[in-house]
C-alpha cells in the first residue's frame, strides 16, 4: 500500500518536473534567439532593395541599409549612387521622421515615382512600396530583425 502511494507520488513529481524541464529548455532557446538577434546590427531603420537597374550600377538585387537620411542620385557624393542616364545628380532623398519613412524629390529632371505615381514634394512611404528613379526601381523593406 505504502509503496504504491509513494510510487504514484514520485510519478506525479516527475511529471511536474518534466513540464518545467520543457519550459526551461524552451526559455533557454528563446533567450539565445533574442541574444543572437540583439547582436546583429539593428541600427538600420529599413532597407532599400534594388529590384530593377538597367545600367547595372547598382546591380539588381543589392540591398542597402538605410540611415535616417539617405540621398539618392547620380552624383558620387550621394549615399546611394545611381548610375542611370535618367537620374539627376541630386535626385531624391529618403528621410525617417517620427515613425515613418518619407521620400522627397529634390527637383529632379525626370521625377520620382512611388508605386507608379509621381511624387510631388514630400510623400510618405510604407514598407513594401516601390520607388522609381530614372530607370532604377527600389523597394523599401523593413530592417532584418
Amino acid at each position: 500500500m505504502d509503496a504504491a502511494v509513494i510510487a504514484i507520488w514520485v510519478l506525479r513529481l516527475i511529471f511536474l518536473a518534466l513540464l518545467y524541464a520543457f519550459l526551461w529548455m524552451v526559455v533557454r532557446a528563446l533567450v539565445r534567439d533574442l541574444r543572437a538577434a540583439a547582436r546583429e546590427p539593428t541600427l538600420e531603420l529599413g532597407r532599400l532593395v534594388v529590384t530593377a537597374s538597367p545600367s547595372g550600377e547598382p546591380a539588381a538585387g543589392v540591398s542597402f541599409a538605410l540611415d535616417a537620411i539617405t540621398s539618392l542620385g547620380r552624383d558620387v557624393n550621394n549615399s546611394i549612387v545611381l548610375d542611370d542616364d535618367f537620374a539627376s545628380a541630386a535626385h531624391a532623398a529618403l528621410t525617417y521622421r517620427g515613425r515613418a519613412w518619407y521620400v522627397e524629390d529634390l527637383g529632379s529632371t525626370n521625377g520620382t515615382f512611388v508605386n507608379g505615381s509621381q511624387v510631388d514634394g514630400l510623400s510618405p512611404l510604407a514598407f513594401g512600396d516601390e520607388i522609381q528613379i530614372g530607370q532604377v526601381r527600389l523597394r523599401l523593406e523593413r530592417a532584418r530583425g
Partner: protein, 486 residues
C-alpha cells in the same frame, strides 16, 4: 525482390524534390523538445493509470495490485505521439527554415488536454464515441492542418489582397449564426449545416485577424495622423475611425444576439491590441477602453444574462448551489489542488458518477488542471501560453513587411488573450465567459481554428527571403494626400 520498385519510387520522389528545390533540413531543437514532450506525457499517463488502479482497489477494499505500472489509455496516447513525430518528420522533409518551438509547445498543451479527457468520464460529450477518442480524432485533424499550412503556405497574396472579401465572409458567418444558430445553454453559438456542426466564432477570430492585418498595414500612416481633437486626445481623421466603431458594434451584437460574452471580449481585446501594435498610439487604447466601459455598463443594465454573469462574479456564494455553482466548485477545485495538486486522476470526487462542474471539459479544464496539477502545474501551463505569445511576437518583429508582422502578432495574441480570459474566468479574476482553453479544452471547432493559427504562424516564421508580392496600386491614402498637397 520488392526492393527494386521501392528504390525506384524513392528515386522518383528524390527527383521531384530536387526539381522543386526541396532539401530536407534537420530540426534538432524541435526533435529534442518533442522527445521531452513524449516522456512527460508518458509519465503523466503512467501516474494517471496507477492512480486509477489504486482507487479501484481501494473502492473494492482489496490490496492494490502489485504491478501499478500501466498506461491509462495506451492506444490513444501512442497514436497522438506518433502524430506529433509524423508532423515533425513532414516538416523536416519539407526543409523550410521555420520555427521549431511552436510545434512542441502546442503538442504538450494538446497532450495535457488529452490526458484530462482520458481521465474524465467518457460519456460527457460522446456522440461519436468516447471523450478521449473524439478529442484524439480532432487533435489528429488539427495536426494535419498545422502541417499542411506550415508546408504549403508560401505566399500571402491570397490573404492580403482579399481582405474585404474575408471580412465579408466573417460577417456572413456571424449573421448566419445569428439567424440559424442553435441555442445551447442560452448562448447561440453553434451552426449546423447538414451533418456538420461547429462554432463559427472560432473561425471568425482568425478571419478577423487577417482583415485587421490587411486594413491596419494599409492605413497605418493615416491612423497615425492627428487631425481631430477630442479633449486631451488627438485622433486620426474621423472617417477612419469607422472600423473601430464597427468593431465595437459587432462586439455588442455578439453579446446581445449570441449571448457570447467570451467571444465579444476576445474580439474587442485583440482589436485594441492590434491597433496599439500597429500605430503605437496609446490614446486608441484609452478610447477603446472607454468605449468598452460604456458598452459593458449599458449591457449590464439592459440585459439579464450579462447582469447574471457579473453578479455571479461579484459574489458566487450568494447562490452556491444554483447560479454560482460552477464558479464555487471551480474555486474549491483550486483550493483542493494546493501547491502540487492531487495528482492526475486523483482529483474531483465525482457526485453520482458526474464531475461536480458540468462544463468541465470545455469551460473549466483550467480548474481541473489546478486541482490535479496544483499551482505548480497551472503556472507551467500558463508559461506554455506565454511561450506561444513570445514566439508570435518574435516572428512579427522579424517579418518582412507590416502585413505579415501584424498578422503574426494578431494570431499569437488571439491564443494568448483567449487563454487569459478563460483562465482568469476560472479563477474568478474576471467574470466567467464560456470560451475554450486553447488546445486543452474539448471541442472540434476550437482545436481546428487554433491549429490554423499555429500552422500559419509556422509558415510566417520562415527565415529565407521570399519575394514580396508586387507593390499595390496607389491607394486611397496616397490619392487623399495628393489632393491635400494640391
Amino acid at each position: 525482390m520488392t526492393a527494386a520498385p521501392v528504390t525506384a519510387g524513392l528515386r522518383a520522389v528524390g527527383r521531384e524534390a530536387r526539381r522543386l528545390r526541396i532539401t530536407p533540413r534537420f530540426r534538432g531543437r524541435e526533435l529534442t523538445l518533442l522527445v521531452i514532450v513524449a516522456i512527460a506525457l508518458i509519465v503523466g499517463d503512467l501516474s494517471l493509470g496507477a492512480t486509477r488502479l489504486l482507487k479501484e482497489a481501494q473502492l473494492a477494499g482489496d490490496q492494490p495490485p502489485p504491478d501499478l505500472a500501466v498506461l491509462a489509455a495506451p492506444a490513444i496516447l501512442v497514436i497522438y505521439l506518433i502524430g506529433l513525430f509524423a508532423v515533425h518528420g513532414a516538416l523536416v522533409l519539407a526543409g523550410r527554415r521555420t520555427d521549431q518551438i511552436l510545434l512542441p509547445t502546442v503538442g504538450l498543451l494538446g497532450g495535457i488536454g488529452l490526458l484530462l479527457m482520458i481521465r474524465l468520464p467518457q460519456d460527457l460529450a460522446g456522440r461519436l464515441g468516447g471523450l478521449a477518442q473524439t478529442q484524439l480524432l480532432w487533435l489528429v485533424i488539427g495536426l494535419t492542418i498545422v502541417v499542411l499550412l506550415a508546408i504549403a503556405v508560401r505566399n500571402d497574396v491570397w490573404l492580403r489582397r482579399y481582405k474585404y472579401t474575408w471580412a465579408a465572409v466573417g460577417v456572413g458567418l456571424l449573421l448566419l449564426t445569428f439567424v440559424f444558430g442553435r441555442d445551447i445553454n442560452g448562448a447561440r453559438l453553434s451552426l449546423t449545416i447538414g451533418p456538420f456542426s461547429g462554432q463559427p466564432s472560432e473561425l471568425l477570430k482568425v478571419i478577423l485577424v487577417v482583415f485587421l492585418a490587411g486594413y491596419l498595414s494599409e492605413n497605418r500612416p493615416l491612423l497615425q495622423e492627428e487631425s481631430t481633437r477630442l479633449g486631451p486626445f488627438r485622433l486620426p481623421p474621423l472617417p477612419y475611425l469607422a472600423p473601430m466603431v464597427a468593431m465595437w458594434a459587432i462586439a455588442l451584437g455578439i453579446v446581445i444576439v449570441q449571448r457570447d460574452l467570451g467571444a465579444a471580449l476576445l474580439f474587442f481585446a485583440v482589436f485594441l491590441l492590434l491597433l496599439y501594435v500597429s500605430t503605437a498610439r496609446f490614446s486608441f487604447v484609452v478610447l477603446g477602453l472607454a468605449a468598452f466601459v460604456v458598452g459593458a455598463g449599458l449591457l449590464y443594465f439592459v440585459f439579464d444574462h450579462v447582469r447574471t454573469r457579473i453578479d455571479i462574479w461579484v459574489d458566487p456564494f450568494a447562490d452556491p448551489t444554483g447560479a454560482g455553482f460552477q464558479v464555487v466548485q471551480a474555486l474549491h477545485a483550486f483550493a483542493r489542488g494546493g501547491l502540487i495538486g492531487t495528482g492526475l486522476g486523483a482529483g474531483l470526487p465525482s457526485i453520482a458518477g458526474r464531475p461536480p462542474i458540468p462544463a468541465l471539459h470545455t469551460d473549466f479544464p483550467f480548474a481541473a488542471l489546478g486541482e490535479e496539477l496544483g499551482l505548480v502545474g497551472i503556472l507551467a501551463v500558463l508559461g506554455l501560453y506565454l511561450v506561444l505569445v513570445e514566439r508570435g511576437l518574435r516572428i512579427a518583429s522579424a517579418a518582412q513587411d507590416e502585413f505579415r508582422a501584424i498578422l503574426a502578432a494578431g494570431l499569437s495574441l488571439v491564443i494568448g488573450v483567449q487563454a487569459f480570459i478563460i483562465a482568469a474566468g476560472n479563477l474568478k479574476l474576471i467574470p466567467l465567459t464560456g470560451i475554450t482553453l486553447p488546445f486543452v479544452s474539448y471541442g472540434g471547432s476550437s482545436l481546428l481554428a487554433n491549429s490554423v493559427i499555429v500552422g500559419m504562424l509556422i509558415a510566417l516564421s520562415e527565415r529565407t527571403r521570399e519575394p514580396l508580392p508586387p507593390p499595390r496600386r496607389p491607394g486611397r491614402i496616397r490619392r487623399l494626400l495628393d489632393r491635400g498637397a494640391a
